[in-house]
């Protein structure tokens, strides 16, 4: 019994988060495992896109049908958030976010990456690294600032004091909390999911992790949806200004 307990602590210890497969690029140390899986995910998406568009039929078939369905899905996301009039220019951005995060998440949940041994760290979904999610969230920040400035010029700053200047600190704070919450939500969900699965696998290798893994698939998909939906909502907010007052002025 004692030996069981002692032996039990060790596998848990080997689950330590923070082992990374470092690459040195100039002065930067980058997480190689994230890059590798990201490239695989990107390659998969590019390959699927090329395969879907290489031989376009009038009545879509096979992969073309699938990818058109995916396109319709992301278009619905963008349209629901941005509205019929504005959604089109932002569709590529929001669609790419959704597809990349979705495929990343599911690759982490479905592909047996542990078959491949790295010198250090292990291959997993790119989105379980905070760097990836922060990068994506900052892109969203840039996107909505760009959207706001493009649409309304310097008048975009008006939204900070729009209802009342008293809320200015909160409005400024929002610009920091948005990327923060976006990145941490995604990162936390995916990492937590993978950790729970890993811990359960170490405790009971067979069958018991299955419900959690299936739940993980569900959460992963939801997270991708949430991230892209929120990105669309933020861009919409920047385009429209606070509340409905802008509508009255126009």
């Amino acid at each position: 019994m004692l030996s069981f307990l002692t032996s039990f602590t060790l596998p848990l210890a080997s689950l330590e988060v923070g082992h990374h497969f470092y690459w040195q690029i100039g002065n930067l140390k980058v997480h190689g495992q994230v890059f590798i899986v990201s490239w695989i995910v990107i390659g998969l998406l590019v390959f699927a896109s090329i395969a879907a568009t290489r031989n376009i039929q009038r009545v879509p078939n096979g992969i073309q049908n699938l990818m058109e369905y995916a396109l319709e899905f992301v278009r619905e996301i963008a349209k629901n958030q941005l509205g019929e009039k504005e959604y089109r220019p932002w569709l590529p951005f929001i669609g790419t976010l959704f597809l990349f995060i979705f495929v990343s998440n599911w690759s982490g949940a479905l592909v047996p990456w542990k078959l491949i041994k790295l010198p250090e760290g292990e291959l997993a979904a790119p989105t379980n690294d905070i760097n990836t999610t922060v990068a994506l969230a900052l892109l969203v920040s840039l996107a909505y600032f760009y959207a706001g400035f493009r649409k309304r010029g310097l008048g975009y700053f008006g939204k900070y004091i729009q209802p009342t200047p008293i809320l200015l600190p909160i409005a400024v704070l929002e610009d920091f909390t948005k990327p923060l919450s976006l990145s941490f939500r995604l990162f936390g969900n995916i990492l937590a999911d993978e950790l729970v699965v890993a811990v359960l696998v170490l405790l009971v290798p067979l069958f018991v992790p299955l419900p959690v893994m299936l739940l993980g698939l569900f959460t992963s998909a939801i997270q991708a949806l949430v991230f892209s939906t929120l990105a669309g909502a933020y861009i919409h907010e920047a385009l429209e200004g606070h509340g409905g007052e802008e509508h009255g002025e126009h």
Partner: protein, 183 residues
């Protein structure tokens, strides 16, 4: 129980070894790589996902196919209607040409008829006019003659008393008797 513990211990050993040994490689440990669970999950996903996705995609495909077919049907109908209408247009144009030609023809005929009638009328009028002139002249001449005769008679009656005496009267009567006698 202890066996399980040893087993996990071994697993952990293998894991640390792998992470310490460095370099790339392939981990063949089926339990540690979670291969069985993953294949079950993938199996479940494929089993249920295929049905769902297949249905969704099939529906989508058939919807699109129906839409395209209907659109083509409509296009065909529209083309047929267009051809029909064009044919009708051509017919109408032909009809219009025909009517215009007929009208032209009738106009020419009517013109000729009216011209001929006018010619005839003019002729008739001229005739009537000349006839009128003739009768008028005859009438004028007759009137003049009568008037001259009347005037001459009046003059003669006026002059008669001054010029008439017995001698003359006798000679006239004699001459007249002589004329009767001669007859």
């Amino acid at each position: 129980m202890s066996m399980t513990g040893n087993f996990l211990w071994l697993l952990a050993e293998a894991g640390t070894e792998a992470s310490e040994s460095g370099g790339f490689g392939i981990n063949f440990d089926i339990l540690e790589t979670n291969l069985i669970n993953l294949s079950i999950v993938i199996g479940i996903l494929v089993y249920f996902g295929r049905g769902f996705l297949g249905k969704v995609l099939g529906d989508r495909r058939s919807t699109i196919a129906t839409a395209i077919r209907e659109a083509e049907e409509r296009r065909k109908q529209a083309a047929a209607a267009l051809a029909d209408e064009q044919q009708k247009l051509a017919q109408a144009q032909q009809e219009a040409t025909r009517i215009r030609a007929a009208a032209q023809e009738r106009a020419t005929a009517t013109r000729a008829a009216i011209l001929a009638q006018a010619e005839r009328d003019i002729e008739r009028l001229r005739e009537t006019a000349s006839q009128d002139v003739n009768t008028e002249r005859d009438r004028a001449i007759a009137e003049l003659r009568q008037r001259i005769a009347t005037l001459a008679l009046q003059r003669a009656e006026a002059e008669l008393p001054s010029r008439l005496n017995d001698e003359v009267q006798n000679s006239i009567i004699n001459r007249s008797i002589a004329m009767f006698g001669g007859a």
